[in-house]
Amino acid sequence: MTALQPAPARTEATALPIGISVPRKEDERLLRGDGRFTDDVQPAHLLEMAVARCPYPHARIVSIDTSAAEQVDGVRQILVGADVLARTEPLTVLRPVPGAPKLPYYALAQEVAAHEGQPVVSVVATSRHIAEDAIELIEISYEPLPHVTDTLAALEPDAPVIHPGELASNLLVANPEGAGDPVVRLAEADVVVTDRFHVNRVTGLPMEPRAVVAQWRPGARELTVHSSTQVPHLMRKQLAEVLRIDESSIRVSASDVGGGFGLKLGIYPEDVLAALHAMTLRRPVKWVEDRMEHFRATTHAREAVHDFTIGATADGRITAMTNTYATDLGAWNSGFGSAQLSSVVFTGPYRVTDGYVERRVTVTNKTPIGAYRGYGQPEVNFPIERLVDRLARRLGMDPLELRERNMLRSDELPWKAVSGAVYDSGDYVRCLHMAAEAVDYAGLRRAGRGPRPDGRLVGVGLSSFVERTGYASARFLARRGSQFGAHESVTLRANRSGGVDLYTGVSSIGQSSETAFAQVVCGVLGIGYPAVRVHAGDTLGSPLNTGAFASRTMIAAAGALRDASLAFREKTLRIAAFRLSDGGSAGPVDPADLDVVDGEVVHRTDPRRRLRLSEVFSIAILGQGLPPEEEPGLEVTAHFEPPDAAYSFGTAAAVVAVDPDTGDYDIERFVMVHDAGTAVNPKIVEGQVRGGLVQGFGAALGEELRYDPDSGQLVNGSMMDYFAPTAADVPPIELLHTEVPSPVTTFGVRGVGEVGTIPPGAAVANAICDALADLGVELTRLPLTPESVWQAIRNARTARG
């Protein structure tokens, strides 16, 4: 029993359980093997689908003979491109590149398939084994067409044009942006550094591959889709568009999602196919991607070539930055297409008033590119930060000092960058200093580069960054044609057990939103943490929302959660006050004198007057005993759009030891200093940053999807030869945080989900180049394999004779 003491006054500042690492809501079911991932959904009478895919990078489909496959016992249906053309629209794009024409991307290839792995035929049978056996018997005759897989080669005038019906070349669109007069500034500059930087093609590789289960009840016109998706409501919209049915006929449910990282944003061909089969067969149809398919059919990421230039005065003031980059789209425009944020943050945390950036979206005969944690920000950090170091060497300045000199100071924020981005607030220089101190930058400089007794040379490298988290308003998105808003929406509903049901369209992909959402509700409402039940990722009960991406969930949802909780709390207290006043000898009760403490409403000064929440909620739900003019029910939906994006920021520092003979290197220390604004749950923040960093290390140090230029085939498309980091591969990571609340978000939160992917490449490359400074080695390509370092050493030695 709670002691009868006056309840403490609750104010937003003192009472929020924000900043506390409560145990996660998601953990128990996942620890007990009781998660419900899409392949765990197993309706009665289930059929399974398998997909025949184009083995060539570019081929005309001459003929398809399915007669032998149709004879296989257990095969129920086979669809080809013509069936899809008759019944569906091309897949729609959620985040189009401004000005880009639409490409006719159908769920099954029409006359021409444009990448290895593009779906050509789909088969449904009583088991996956049988469906796959049937695929072996389908005769597809292809006429291979000229292909191009290299990004820059695709832009050459002699390259085969991949979509001749829509485009005159393989340039989908070019988007220039800028401000000031960079051409003049560069001409006047005392020093100009420029180079071409290659960013590797990688994949996010969630541990759960994609999966879909579609069920159709024709009489009810009801399509139920279980899917491993980050965006149930957006998927519903896209399925309605592509299948030509009303949204009201579609329910999308994503219960547990085994990692998304941007790859599960929006529909894929297989989602449309499973739905089509289910609708015509009137039986549930499941498709679970196997890992070999995943490498060819789920979006890849990052691949880009940046031509970056920085101009500066002799005393180290940066006067201009320009960046023209080709970003690889692959063969089709996926839901989010190729990364768009390289342009937004291309001037980094620096005071640059004159700049120009141009994104050139390039079609190639490869698997489509999509969003991946960072969405252009790791890609552009690499050239910026590599060139800042090179500029420092040219000027004879220390890279730390050059950064310090050009970095925006806290009193210069908010700052409108050349791209139009408004950096809201922060102390960039403090993070830089903290990182330098943490690795003892000054001590390392004094100690020199070695060599150590084992011949290794020691180097230290920095990478500073700003990161856009969330979106700069719906108006910004509207200008770019994006098919979603900047807001989040939640519904709170009372239940008779005294608990609150929270409904959200944000699916649980590992980002801990169930936990963080419940924390905010508890904080504002006063109810106990266990009494909040989060129902996530089902379009059936949740308000229409945006979804889990762009590090935007908490930024937007925090406001909706606060608003809903406040309204919910007020009504709870009004009902309780009326009930507590009812015939009481102590006179009427003012709702303002009441508070919610855990499972009860308690009078602040007369704690004997109290009422269980289960009772208050029952009054509301039954509609019996309400104050006059109070509506029955206790349910609040709130929508919230943050006024602007919040920019997180920080600096990473790496210390490496390099063997100058072999190119082999060890990362001895890696310090990440980062500001995520107010941390709702510090453990979750740390987990997000560490997880992002390890993905960042994977992409920076070793991961790369390689295509053979002659055959156009993916060379390493399996887990046997695409190496994501294991526990034994992770360098030692030290994390430091600052906490500058953002003025543009509720509670001052900034996004944290993606930041870790940004600095590893540049920080490690800068450290290696620092160690090898006497050789004049400049690394311009990711990933930083020992072999590529050795190659760069050799090139530098040859250049010097």
Partner: protein, 164 residues
């Protein structure tokens, strides 16, 4: 799982799964992970690659951590199988599971059963394991979310004195 074609060769097996004896007739080519998931409804064992690389499907067979995607269901005949569903008692998580939640050793949770079963086998060996060795020992299971730190901390605390 729905029936296979009439010609599908089948085999009979008897095995013990989480302490209970199971008799089953299965298609000869059904692998052990699919058998556990779809025949027995033990969906805590996950499948991430079917090539023996990712470790999502790790279960204990006669006390050894094995990748069940690389075994046929038929090979479970006469063996003792334990899956993640065996770890908790009633509503109580076991100390290893509690260590995972305390150290934030899971995010999406898809890899978690694989790590829990690998760590269970490690704990049952009964020899102390240093942090760097833990990293090597669990390198057969991938995690794309956590960066491994929470997982390593949880296992280390559990193995070395059951700090949890």
């Amino acid at each position: 799982m729905t029936g296979f074609g009439a010609t599908e060769p089948e085999v009979d097996l008897t095995t013990t799964v989480n302490g209970e004896e199971v008799d089953a007739r299965v298609p000869a080519r059904l692998h052990a992970a699919d058998f556990l998931r779809h025949r027995l409804g033990l969906t805590g064992t996950h499948v991430g690659c079917e090539q023996g690389v990712c470790g999502m499907c790790t279960v204990l067979v006669d006390g050894q951590a094995v990748k069940s995607c690389l075994m046929l269901a038929a090979q479970l005949h006469g063996r003792d199988v334990r899956t993640v569903e065996s770890l908790a008692t009633g509503d109580d998580l076991n100390p290893l599971q509690r260590a995972f939640t305390e150290e934030h050793g899971l995010q999406c949770g898809f890899c978690t059963p694989g790590f829990l079963m690998t760590a269970t086998a490690l704990a049952e060996r009964g020899v102390p394991v240093a942090r760097e060795e833990i990293r090597e020992e669990i390198a057969g299971v991938l995690c794309r979310c956590t960066g491994y730190e929470g997982i390593v901390r949880a296992i280390e605390g559990h193995l070395n004195g059951g700090a949890a």
